[in-house]
């Protein structure tokens, strides 16, 4: 009889649900999707809610167009003079990191162009066409706001250039991924996948298989490929298909070329894959932008300058170019007719 009870218990336990807890919520104006594998449901929910609270805090503290955020207050003081003001140690560290990355990208990653981003209407929750004021854009470009204009000393900062207006839209989600990974590890979670608006970082794996992510097709409502993300790897895409508006038949996307002040036109999407690294999340967010903004023959160099080996580019005509190492990692769901391996 005892044998039968045991036997029945075994059969029933096989019917149990897979130990995967997936939570979707809305932070940073985008979808946040956290999967935790192999923990009890209570533990998974507890850790997830902790991470989401962290994300909410980051969202409010570094919001680019809510006037009471720490970032907006810093922007106000940058605009009003060269008096150093106190900032949080976290913001000081973020700005330091962003300065290094901006330099590596030769200014193509430039979070100091908040005024330009605002002029193009991308500092709003909805993307409706704006009246394009060429003269105003020209002036904003000439004012030449650079990350190197910011002087950080201890926990104070000021800007040598009053035109500097920070918008961490291309950085903060990546920073949040790194923060989430550290928190998951601190809480003893072994397996998790965190997705903030398409930027994803992996920890451990999904059961006996690595976490698998789909790469969105920039023009069709379906993924074009999948990639297996081993523990610690991150993936990020910059695309012209999520935040954009159309005017007179032309698409204006949210990725603005700081050199000319206009949205980039030559690219539909750039995906980068980043190996384990304390700033893997940040790099997955930041490193795709310089590649996106570079001319076709400069994309390889732009990737190299950011230390990126794995990248995939879909150009304006939909043609796919990818690095040899990336080519080994992607599994096509809808293989493009022509792909070029660099």
């Amino acid at each position: 009889m005892r044998f039968l009870v045991l036997f029945f218990a075994l059969i029933l336990s096989a019917c149990g649900k897979e130990p995967l807890v997936q939570t979707k919520s809305y932070v940073f104006g985008t979808l946040v999707d956290i999967s935790i594998y192999g923990e009890t449901e209570d533990k998974a929910h507890e850790v997830t809610s902790h991470i989401l609270q962290d994300f909410q805090r980051l969202h409010h503290q570094y919001h680019a167009w809510q006037s009471d955020s720490e970032l907006s207050k810093l922007n106000q003081s940058f605009a009003s003079g060269k008096t150093p003001v106190e900032i949080s140690p976290e913001l000081a560290q973020m700005l330091g990191q962003a300065q290094v990355l901006s330099k590596e990208s030769q200014g193509l990653f430039n979070p100091a162009i908040g005024s330009l981003i605002g002029a193009w209407g991308f500092q709003r929750d909805e993307f409706t066409p704006v009246e394009i004021n060429d003269l105003a854009i020209q002036k904003l470009v000439q004012s030449n706001p650079q990350m190197s204009d910011i002087v950080i000393k201890g926990n104070t900062a000021f800007s040598k250039n009053p035109a500097v207006k920070l918008d961490l839209g291309g950085y903060a989600k990546g920073y949040a991924l790194d923060l989430a990974l550290a928190e998951l590890q601190k809480q003893g979670v072994k397996n998790s996948l965190v997705n903030i608006g398409g930027n994803i970082i992996a920890l451990g794996q999904h059961g006996d298989k690595p976490w698998r992510v789909g790469i969105q097709h920039p023009r069709l409502p379906k993924p074009m490929a999948t990639v297996d993300l081993q523990s610690g790897w991150a993936i990020g895409t910059s695309g012209d298909y999520q935040r954009y508006f159309e005017q007179a038949g032309k698409r204006y996307c949210h990725i603005i070329d700081p050199r000319v002040g206009y949205p980039a036109q030559g690219t539909q999407a750039v995906t980068v894959l980043i190996p384990p690294n304390p700033q893997a999340g940040v790099l997955s967010d930041v490193a795709s932008k310089p590649i996106f903004l570079s001319a076709p023959d400069q994309r390889g160099n732009a990737a190299k300058a950011m230390g990126v080996e794995h990248y995939l580019v879909v150009d304006a005509e939909g043609k796919v170019t990818l690095s040899a190492s990336m080519n080994q990692r992607v599994h096509w769901l809808a293989k493009p007719e022509k792909i070029t391996v660099q």
Binding site: L4, F7, F8, I11, L12, A14, C15, D33, S35, L193, N195, G197, G198, N199, I200, H206, W211, R212, V213, G214, I215, Q216, P223, T226, V227, I235, G236, T237, G239, Y241, Q242, T271, L333
Partner: protein, 127 residues
């Protein structure tokens, strides 16, 4: 007669019969006892897949079968035969289908519905 009904110690064969029975029940339980919501509706016409629709929409679909037009309705994550030219209307009486694996068939007009799950080829989407 009475002695034949008397309990005796189960033999190996008895244990095996019980065991096989339990495994069978366990497997049935596992395969049938799920209430996973469906994500897609697959419609077949004759021996071919006519179309696959997301259940995440409100939609009427008219299909020309051998007897006439069968109307299928999708709403609130469910699907059903709304009308059919067939004589006995069994398919319409099946009502709403809402869970993965559920199916309804209209034999006379050769239209069948099957609900599919949301099994994705990946864990999360990079966009």
């Amino acid at each position: 007669m009475v002695s034949a009904l008397k309990w005796s110690k189960p033999l190996l064969g008895d244990v095996l019969v019980i065991l096989v029975g339990l495994i069978f029940v366990g497997c049935l339980f596992k395969s049938l006892w799920h209430n996973e919501q469906a994500a897609k509706l697959q419609i077949r016409l004759g021996d071919k897949i006519y179309a696959t629709y997301s259940l995440d929409q409100k939609r009427k679909i008219d299909i020309q079968g051998s007897l006439g037009v069968t109307r299928i309705v999708i709403a609130n994550g469910k699907a059903r035969f709304a009308s059919s030219p067939c004589p006995n209307q069994y398919c319409v009486h099946q009502g709403w289908l809402s869970h993965k694996g559920q199916a309804a068939i209209c034999l006379p007009n050769q239209v069948s519905l099957e609900l599919l799950g949301a099994k994705k080829p990946f864990d999360s989407l990079n966009y």
